[in-house]
């Protein structure tokens, strides 16, 4: 135990002085958060629409004014030709044309909606919104109360922004990358430099070496992931709904799985090139298949069964449930079983494959 702690302290000292790799492990997720954080705020903007007022009377002016006050829309008034062009360019989502006989409450008038037919999906989404807005305006102008007023209450009290979806995924991805690089790449480098042999001539046991490296990496991973989460919470308003202690448990378990995978790779790969290849083989598919950037349900059906059992998938989904949805670990039994299974598999393999005599020389 003494030697394990000694190695942990030593590795912590070495890793924490390696500013370059700390910078790069944080740089990637922070860049992603920044990009998607800002894109996200844009999507909450009002929908840009154009209005052509061919009637030009007091009633039509009142209508345009009321539409402009509607929270869903940002209205540009202009002539048909200019606005049409803007639709084609994509600056406006649609143009509403008020007919000349748009005169008053007692006189129903046909409105025309100009859209870009190429954006069929967008049109289908916009139409009910416009119709609903027109209904709101009609009620307001005729001063009638809706017969069935509807108040929407969000029972989950959670946000549905993309950044909230993304942040837990990025945290999981960071854990994967730090851990695989921090065990597998390290072992190959230490072997190449003869450091493993240097240690092996002392009475150190494999468990001291592995235990020390794992402890140091766990401490560092928790610090790095906490930092990322703090950035997400403070700068991007990502809510942490769930239990922080359970979050820590997940970070530990995730790291342990990926560190073990790294140890397996480090024991198998004899050269720097081989470990790079193995590392990419393990990280890249998981990066895209484990629901980090988009949900697994939106992936092609054939890939889903594979995606659903990847270790990163379990880490991503459990982190997401805890952080965004506030679920406890006890409420995610299948995911917990998945994590436990991967931990058992990778840990057993890591211990089997790591033998001083083979690994050191």
């Amino acid at each position: 135990m003494g030697s394990t702690l000694l190695m942990a302290k030593t590795f912590l000292k070495i890793f924490s002085k390696d500013r370059q790799s700390i910078f790069f492990t944080l740089f990637f997720p922070i860049t992603f958060m920044a990009i998607f954080g800002f894109i996200n705020t844009g999507s909450e903007d009002a929908i840009e629409i154009g209005v052509v007022d061919n009637a030009g009377n007091a009633f039509s002016a009142e209508f345009v004014d009321a539409l402009g006050r509607h929270p869903l829309f940002a209205v540009t008034v202009g002539d048909e030709g200019a606005l049409k062009e803007k639709v084609v360019e994509g600056d406006l989502a649609l143009v509403l044309i008020l007919p000349e006989d748009f005169r008053g409450k007692e006189n129903p008038a046909d409105l025309t909606m100009l859209v870009d037919a190429a954006q069929a999906r967008q049109t289908a989404m916009l139409r009910p919104l416009i119709e609903h807005a027109l209904l709101d305006l009609e009620r307001e102008m005729r001063a009638i109360e809706p017969l069935f007023p509807l108040t929407v209450v969000d029972v989950e009290a959670r946000s549905q922004r993309y950044i909230d979806f993304l942040v837990p995924g990025l945290l999981a991805l960071t854990i994967l990358q730090i851990s695989v690089a921090g065990s597998g790449y390290n072992i190959v480098e230490y072997r190449r430099k003869g450091i493993l042999k240097r240690l092996f001539v002392t009475p150190i046991r494999p468990r001291d070496f592995i235990g020390g490296l794992v402890l140091a990496r766990l401490v560092l991973t928790v610090i790095q992931v906490t930092f990322l989460l703090a950035v997400a919470v403070v700068l991007l308003d990502v809510p942490v709904v769930g239990n922080v202690f359970e979050l820590l448990v997940l970070i530990f378990v995730g790291s342990a799985i990926f560190l073990s995978m790294g140890f397996c790779m480090g024991s198998l790969a004899k050269t720097q090139q081989a470990i790079m290849l193995l590392g990419n083989l393990i990280t890249l598919p998981q990066m895209f298949l484990s629901g980090v950037f988009f949900s697994i349900e939106s992936m092609p059906e054939v890939l889903q069964p594979v995606a659903n059992v990847l270790p990163l998938t379990f880490v991503v989904s459990s982190l997401r449930e805890v952080i965004v949805n506030g679920l406890s670990l006890a409420e995610q039994i299948p995911t917990m079983i998945g994590l436990a299974a991967w931990l058992a598999i990778t840990l057993t393999l890591a211990i089997r494959l790591f033998r001083w005599k083979q690994v050191a020389s």
């Binding site: 003494g2 030697s3 002085k17 430099k193 003869g194 002392t202 009475p203 150190i204 005599k357």
Partner: protein, 262 residues
């Protein structure tokens, strides 16, 4: 070499050591890297293992150190069986390796403290550095050392457990003459303090200068054994190519042939 009193009990004993490795290229075929090597190294002597590249010197050393499994035969150090109790053996031997790289970001002091603690000892790193004349480099990192300094540091890190037997694997390869002489002095002073020293070398001058006894290995076997003087007497070709000095090289070449090794 000046005569000295040597304890007659072998502190390192190897009995018919064998090591097989897979043949490079051939999948199931093996070759004998070490083929029945027996050694009896006595406490207090400087013992040299000579041989061309690929003769099995390093493999023999690594089997004695417990770094490589012994396929057959047995080795004991101070009576302790290397295969049965590798950790006990590691406690009493010091190993200087050919590789000279260490963890990044750690100073010489950090590294010596680490190695010392791994032996559950509390050796003063500065005192160790003094022994190898590196005390002014205490705060330096190994990457900043010269070749000779690196070798001396490597020896310092092999001394953290006050070993009874010190193994040196080609300690002067690649060093300039000054650094080489300096290292010889260090080896002599360590030996004078009672440490048994086992070294491998290509350098005949080194073997002649340092070693009380040597073995010459080739193709995994010991082909000659004795004091440098004995070997010159028995094996030097007549007439010696150079009469006054460096004759051991003639012995070496006459025994192992002139063909170039990889």
């Amino acid at each position: 070499m000046h005569p000295k009193t040597v304890n007659a009990v072998p502190i390192v004993r190897a009995d018919k050591l064998v090591k097989r490795y897979p043949k490079p290229g051939g999948k199931s075929e093996t070759f004998l890297a070490v083929d029945g090597v027996s050694l009896a190294i006595e406490a207090g002597e400087v013992f040299g293992i000579l041989g061309p590249n690929g003769a099995g010197k390093t493999t023999t050393l690594e089997m004695l150190e417990g770094l490589t499994d012994i396929d057959s035969g047995e080795a004991t150090i101070a009576g302790i069986d290397v295969t049965a109790a590798p950790h006990k053996v590691k406690e009493i031997i010091g190993v200087q390796l050919q590789a000279n790289e260490y963890f990044d970001h750690l100073t010489l002091t950090d590294l010596l403290t680490l190695f010392s603690r791994l032996f559950h000892r509390d050796n003063d790193p500065v005192a160790l550095l003094k022994r190898v004349q590196l005390e002014d480099k205490a705060a330096a990192k190994p990457a900043a050392l010269s070749g000779g300094q690196k070798q001396r540091f490597s020896i310092a890190s092999a001394l953290v457990n006050d070993p009874k037997v010190l193994f040196l694997d080609e300690p002067t390869t690649g060093l300039d003459p000054q650094a080489k002489r300096n290292l010889w002095k260090l080896v002599e002073s360590l030996n004078a303090s009672g440490m048994t020293i086992v070294l491998t070398t290509h350098n005949m001058e080194e073997a002649e200068h340092l070693c009380d006894r040597i073995v010459i290995m080739d193709h995994g076997r010991v082909i000659a054994e004795g004091s440098p003087q004995d070997l010159i007497m028995h094996h030097a070709p007549e007439p010696p190519a150079a009469r006054l000095h460096g004759n051991l090289e003639d012995v070496f070449l006459s025994l192992t042939g002139h063909a170039l090794r990889e």
